[in-house]
């Protein structure tokens, strides 16, 4: 067993743990031309600055709002889709639908946002129709108040089909004989769904939820940087774009690293919290207490 771990652990040490030590620059006034060895140490200055920066808090607030919207509105959709697809009898229809549903995942955000703009933008298809009908155009793409909904709609379009794939894989592990037995006992469609199908997905659903919660402060980078200017940073600045503007555009690598560390710590707390909650509900979660298997 230990032998099977060796390659993975070596990879982790070499390509994660070694470079991740570089995050000590968060405690420096790091300058690339000086390197880590010669840059000046400045303690918690970068974190203090972050704490005092109202833009950081705005970005955090936006991130949480958007993540909440994604969790509530996006997360259930792939599960529903997977259940419907799984119930399809015709293999041909199944395969067609799956192939189509996966495609948008491979389109870049640049293109997805462009396509949305072509249809919903100020000069887009829908608004042109409204104008021709003598109605006022609706600012789908530029209204900061409805921006979370827009973001979720884009996410559903791009990734709901793709996210379904994991649930479909989980459904393949359901024991068909259970269905047969249930049907023989006279259990109808809904009871089978409730008592056999959903329980078999539960572990995966909980697992993905925990992972998502631990990663909740990453709501996506490109999707937001592309729309930041048309909606305004008041609604569309998120932690990742904030970090990018500070760290790369502004050349302030240390502040970027500090924001990244802060994000990681929050993520760790959330991950731990979500995992504990899962244990209380009797699920294995992703990390087990000592002694349980």
């Amino acid at each position: 067993m230990v032998l099977l771990m060796v390659p993975g652990v070596v990879f982790l040490l070499a390509f994660f743990y070694l470079p991740v030590l570089g995050n000590v620059v968060a405690f420096q006034d790091f300058q690339p031309y000086l390197g880590i060895m010669h840059s000046e140490w400045n303690g918690f200055t970068n974190f203090v600055n972050l704490y005092a920066n109202p833009d950081f808090w705005d970005a955090l607030r936006n991130t949480l709002i958007l993540a909440g919207a994604q969790l509530l509105l996006f997360f259930p959709i792939p599960i529903g889709l997977a259940l419907i697809v799984d119930s399809l009898v015709s293999n041909r229809v199944r395969r067609w639908f799956q192939t189509i549903a996966y495609l948008p995942h491979f389109l870049s955000w640049v293109l997805v946002v462009t396509l949305f703009q072509q249809s919903l933008g100020g000069a887009g298809f829908v608004n042109n129709l409204l104008r021709q009908a003598g109605l006022d155009p609706i600012p789908f793409m530029t209204n900061p108040d409805t921006f979370p909904l827009l973001v979720v709609a884009q996410l559903v379009w791009k990734d709901a089909g793709w996210a379904m794939i994991i649930f479909l894989a989980a459904l393949t592990t359901v024991d068909v004989s259970l269905y047969e037995a249930a049907a023989a006992d006279g259990a109808g469609r809904w009871r089978r769904l409730w008592h056999i199908t959903l329980p078999s997905l539960r572990t995966v659903i909980v697992l993905l939820l925990i992972l998502r919660i631990g990663d909740i402060l990453s709501v996506g980078f490109e999707q937001f940087i592309l729309q930041r200017d048309s909606v305004g940073p008041g609604a569309a600045e998120v932690l990742d774009t904030f970090t990018y503007y500070a760290g790369v555009v502004g050349g302030d690598w240390s502040s970027g690293a500090a924001a990244g560390l802060a994000k990681g710590v929050v993520g760790a707390l959330l991950l731990w919290g979500a995992n504990s909650l899962a244990h209380r509900l009797g699920e294995p979660g992703i990390f087990q207490r000592r002694g349980s298997s």
Partner: protein
Amino acid sequence: MINRRRFLQVSGAAVVAGSTLAGCGDGGTAGGGAKASGDLKLPTYKPFAGLQPDLPGAESGLEPGFLRFPANATASVKAPPLKNAVTALTETFATPPPPMGSNPMWQALNQALGAELKLTIGTDPGYPEKFATLLASDSLPDLMWLPPNQGIPNIGPMLEAKFQDLTKYLSGDAVLEYPNLAALKPASWRTAVVNGKIWGAPIPSTPFGQVMMGNPRTWEKVGGLQSANAEEFFAKCKELSNGTNYALEPAIINMLHMFGEWFGAPNGWRVNADRSLTHLYETENYRAAVEYAAKLWAAKVFYPDLNLADATPKTVNGQIAAQVVVGPRATADFRALDPTLFVDTLIPFGHDGKAKPVYDMGYGTVGFTPFKQTDEGRIRELLALMDYLSAPFGTKEYLQKNFGVEGQQYQLDAQKNPVLTKAGTQQAPGLVSALTIMTSPESVIFNPAFPDDTRKIHATEQKLLEFAMRNPTAGTYSDTSSKVGPKLTAAFRDTIVDIVTGRQKIGAYDEALKRWKSGGGDKMRGEFAAVLPAGVPVTGS
């Protein structure tokens, strides 16, 4: 199509957005080290004598025009510059070229140079990351293009730590040993001066700033793009916008820049009579321009998708009537899409028809290319290389660098202008873009297939120059501006866009201005005022 570059431009230090090459031109971070620069002797200016332009250039910034490519290109360099291979970091704004091994044009250039020129070619996005990683890795290439506006901070200490002071090889008459470098103007050289030392050869680009260009076929319906006052322009825009077609490209900040010129807003800073400075954002003129823009927005004359990245095709097909681009030479971008179209360039006018407008000149360079620290022999070799690659328009070296070898990458058309062959169009663009972003001669106007365009552009430039204003702080350095300037500008612009598009009231302007001042604006003013060169005139005099 939205591309990320646009967002970098809008939010970064650059005032200029538009054509990619010139889009890098107007930077805030490259410093001038004004304290020490008083003692520094800039390289002696000795224009290239071998060639007479058809339309003369001038000290004012007017670019010389060539109606056709000079016959019998002369050599400007005596011997191949290199003995040993050279490595360089640069960026291409075109598709990356085929690699050296399978690129005959690159190989021919190496042959002419005397040794291999190994380019590490960055692309956009990703250049600042590439630059920083190489810098931190301690395996610097011999040459590294230093862009002025991609967020590379603390240029001064960085140069001192890692790069070569070239002052003694270039200052004063020393530069005459490299005639093509001596043909670069003092205004360009100022870019490459930091802490009173010269760090590399500058990369000149057009000295003109943004202009508004309009499709004449569209504007014909309302009597043309040229207007007498802001009211007239407003009325024309309104007439041209009907729900499917729109008057203006939705690049708010750039459009605002144009309106500001009509309202007499200064180029960056205003120099008051007592030689104190007032920032653009603090002037009533700019505020008035913001209100004017908000009025235009409310009248629905802007194309309604703020996200539109490249308005050029829409201007060509008439969906948008006018857009903002860099410099009068940009007419060629429209010709490239529609060879029958020569777009009109708006000449600024006073907002009320009486006041004198201004025209903001650009930065004039796209940064400079410093050398890795090395010994004198190698420095001379690298300088000879820069000399070769900076050869002026019309020389043999220019042809070699931009067009390759006759009969292979280019051939001469009926007017004896070089035109890329099919092989050339594959091998040249990526390579030429990478080379010209790190080395360039002074700019010229040249439209091979359309000599008349060259005449018209030359005339437009003269008209613009009547109102020309330069940023009084150009070539000087402020620590605060280098550190927080880009961030402050971005935050202020966010508010302005909110105001123009009706998301916030004009009252937010004062709030944002207060934040700009306390966040570092006042400090910048002090620093710039302290080093304001005596030669800079009081604004408006």
